[in-house]
């Protein structure tokens, strides 16, 4: 074992969740790389898992096979100690001489005796039996720095939890809880910080990893915000152009059919944009098992076709009216102030006041009455003459509802939440369901809503406000956990 690179061996009983702990800590949800299953003995050999930044390995973790015969192994080490208090030399002798009888114990102890620190994973929902005490004793005899991780796989009775903590506290330098099936970034960071407390010798390396990890997380949030901005911009700019020949214009049924076809095409394209964004987010957060829940033909996922989506996601009616009023008021005020300036102040500021009021009222009332309309697409039979002959071109999209942009943003924020709260230690191929959570945009402060609303409006008009985009980016980065 190379002493320059700090190593930490994750050990414990078979099926204690060692590999799941590492999978969550190192964000590996690929079973070909780290096999996590309920089958005891899934890990057959020591697997080295390096933490590499900029091509340089800074820390490494070791996934080990679980203890299979801890009591017998403990007795064997005691026998080798011949009445003395067992210590590192006797553990080393056990490694050298007992590989045939205790292959798994030897495999897991060998890297520890070569210098690795110990992360002992236990499931406190299991009762504290002698086998665990034997494991703790053996690990204590190695003399290496030790951290115990409680990884509860089901509910733990308080008395049992207390018994575990008391016992582990007596044998280990530090005891922490780390639920491999739900731990998020904060818990992962705290776990790494705990290593600082048990291994001062390698504090610089661990701090380096923590620094990189923090930067990486911040950068991921920024990249996620970029992906969401890109998705919103593309969605709000999306239009479908459908030629309507002259003979179709006078027949309502044909016209409606064309419109329905164009509408379906619009939602398919919208779905593809959303899917592209979610795929980018999944890749960014290294998730391979999560499935995207969209089904373009039924508008699932975003569920734009159901009233529930529009009442549950996006802004509430009052919030929407207030935000639109504020954004409209500011725009009206700008126009009004221009009138004031043009009259060299002779209007005594009336332009600003009236402009603000008119803009605010029209924006607010419009949003209040139309905000929760179901997605009826805006349609402009524009009168653009088709190049190839008679007829016109129908332009379809976006939905007429004022809430459209907010529903889109909400759906992305909720999916993002689903991604960042999913632990990599889980191996069920779950579907990323956005509609399982509550609206996020409704909790936004009004200044952030106004910023977003103005940018949405510019995108819906077809000319995204590039000057405002950095502000939108900053709001989104703040919003993303």
């Amino acid at each position: 074992m190379n002493d320059d690179i700090p190593s930490f061996a994750v050990v414990g009983r078979v099926n204690a969740g060692k590999t799941a702990t590492l999978a969550t800590l190192l964000e590996v949800d690929d079973n070909d790389v780290l096999r996590v299953s309920s089958t005891p003995g899934e890990t057959t050999s020591v697997q080295i898992l390096p933490v590499i930044y900029h091509g340089q390995e800074i820390v490494r973790f070791l996934d080990t096979p679980g203890f299979q015969q801890p009591v017998e192994a403990m007795r064997e080490i005691e026998r080798l100690a011949s009445g003395e208090t067992p210590g590192p030399p006797h553990v080393q002798r056990f490694i050298d001489e007992s590989a045939d009888r205790f292959p798994d114990e030897v495999r897991l102890l060998a890297p520890i005796m070569a210098g690795a620190g110990i992360l002992y994973v236990v499931d406190p929902s299991n009762p504290l039996r002698d086998a665990f005490l034997a494991e703790m004793e053996i690990l204590r005899w190695t003399g290496r720095p030790r951290l115990a991780l409680l990884n509860p796989q089901s509910d733990v009775p308080p008395a049992q939890d207390h018994a575990w903590r008391e016992r582990l506290g007596a044998t280990f330098n530090l005891v922490r809880t780390f639920d491999a099936h739900s731990a998020r970034y904060e818990e992962r960071r705290r776990l790494l910080e705990s290593l600082l407390q048990i291994d001062e010798l390698h504090a610089a390396s661990i701090r380096e990893v923590l620094g990189h990890m923090e930067n990486e997380w911040q950068e991921r949030r920024e990249r996620a915000a970029e992906a969401i901005i890109d998705c919103l911009e593309k969605s709000l700019l999306l239009r479908v152009y459908e030629p309507i020949e002259e003979r179709d214009q006078g027949v309502p049924s044909r016209f409606e059919r064309k419109r329905a076809e164009a509408s379906l095409l619009y939602f398919k394209k919208l779905d593809a944009i959303g899917r592209e964004c979610v795929e980018a987010l999944l890749k960014l957060y290294r998730h391979h098992l999560l499935q995207i829940d969209t089904e373009p033909s039924q508008h699932q996922g975003l569920d734009l076709a159901t009233g529930e989506t529009w009442s549950k996601w996006g802004l509430g009616r009052a919030g929407l009216a207030a935000t639109s009023a504020l954004a409209g008021g500011v725009s009206g005020g700008v126009i009004g102030s221009t009138i004031d300036a043009a009259t060299l102040g002779h209007s005594l500021g009336a332009g600003t006041l009236i402009g603000g009021l008119v803009g605010g009222l029209s924006g607010g009332l419009g949003a209040f009455f139309k905000g929760h309309r179901l997605p009826e697409l805006r349609m402009k039979p524009t009168g653009i003459k088709l190049a190839g002959g008679d007829g016109k071109k129908m332009v379809l999209g976006p939905p007429a509802s004022e809430n459209f942009s907010w529903v889109l943003l909400d759906s992305m924020l909720l999916r993002y939440h689903g991604i960042v709260t999913r632990a990599h230690g889980r191996r069920d191929a779950a579907t990323l369901e956005a509609n399982a959570s509550e609206s996020r945009v409704r909790t936004l402060p009004s200044d952030q809503r106004t910023t977003l609303q103005k940018w949405f409006t510019s995108c819906l008009k077809g000319t995204p406000d590039r000057a405002r985009e950095p502000e939108v980016f900053a709001v989104l980065v703040e919003l993303l956990e």
């Binding site: 096999r35 003995g41 890990t43 057959t44 933490v51 930044y53 996934d63 970029e226 000057a467």
Partner: protein, 465 residues
Amino acid sequence: MARTGWRWTLRDLIDFEQALAASPSPTEAEKRALAAAIAGASGAAQKHSGWRIWLETRRQVAPLQTGRKFLNTLHAVTTGMAFLAITAGASTVLGLWDRARGGINVSLFLALILGIQWLVLLGALLAGILHRKTGEAFTVFQGWLAALARKFSGEKDAVWWRRLMEETQARKALLWLLARSVQTIGVSFNLGALGALAGLIMFHNVGFYWETTTEDTMRSGLERTVKILSTPWAAIDRASVPDAFTIGETRLTSTSPHHLPPGPREWWRFLLWSVVLWGMAPRWILRGACAWQERRALKAFEFESRHHRAAWRTWFGGDARSEILSGPADGALVIDVGGAGFSQDLLRPFLLRRLRVNPVAWERIGVLDASSEQSAREALSRAAAAIVLLAEGWALSPRQIEALLDRVAAVKENRRVILLIGNALPDGTMRDPSPEERRTWQNFHDGLAGSEIELIFHEEEGTKS
């Protein structure tokens, strides 16, 4: 430690955008050097100094000429336009000179030389107010200037131009630079007018007059205009303020002489003052204001547009942990000899716990399906650790097994080869072989002299091997 207080110029910005668009991905060494250079700084200051260091590094690699070329070309275009403006100013004044009468109509002079300029200025001011938020107030003239400068510098479709236009402060800085050029041209126009007027006064003894058909209205209007325009110098140079008597005397009537006498002095002094103070000075002041606004915009430039953010992450970020790609090297190819139909799910825990191998591929051999052997050979690449041959206890056929082991030995490389013996139940469970079957297989194995093949008999969980 990052150096603070970098000052960005438009030339730097143009070079920066051009270099950024053309730069390949950074190497790790470059990134490390840049990270060290900006250590200690944060926020906007970090980006300002970071990008400046980056730009200087690029300049050391290869000189960047785009910014200089564009600005020099703009300067040349502005100079050319300034000469044209001087000519235009002088021509306007000469056009106002009525040679037959030997005089200049002062009301026309004020309207054409000063009035039009002020109308344009007020129009531009209004446009500026309307677009103040976005900095998009490019006048047509500024647009032409920019287009000419780009065309002559060979940068007509330059990427840096599109990128600067996307960034508010950069756009503003360019706007104010072009506005400054326009004001320079405006100053030149007034200079031309001033020179022509001075020339006429000195060399042609020009006279001044005004005429009207609405005597009272025009006269009072002219008197008021003269009073307002001469306010700045009235206190220090009374001789340059035409009074009511002078104004009355210089009105052109049917009794006025056919050829006007020179002067009066009040009028030409008034006009010279007017051109200087109401034509040229506002342009100079605006020119200064433009320069100040340009500097402000450059100072407020934050490198926060989308492509800047992406580039920052590329050059100064990229703190991404390398993905762990290699899995445990315990994969095994399991070959069901004779197609007994052992259940993969039921047998997998036994293989993991007892044999310490992970079955990654399951194949059949010795069956009617001719393609199965080929399939088994292909599956070998996924099995890094072992080849497990499943055989039923009763089914030992020495020739078949020997032939099979020979074929396996040819491809096994350093993999373990395990011969696992058990019998299949109808549900696919493997049950233990009988003692007789064990003896038969053991004898067969003993006969394989020098063989590295491990012979394992299936045993129910909990029973001793």
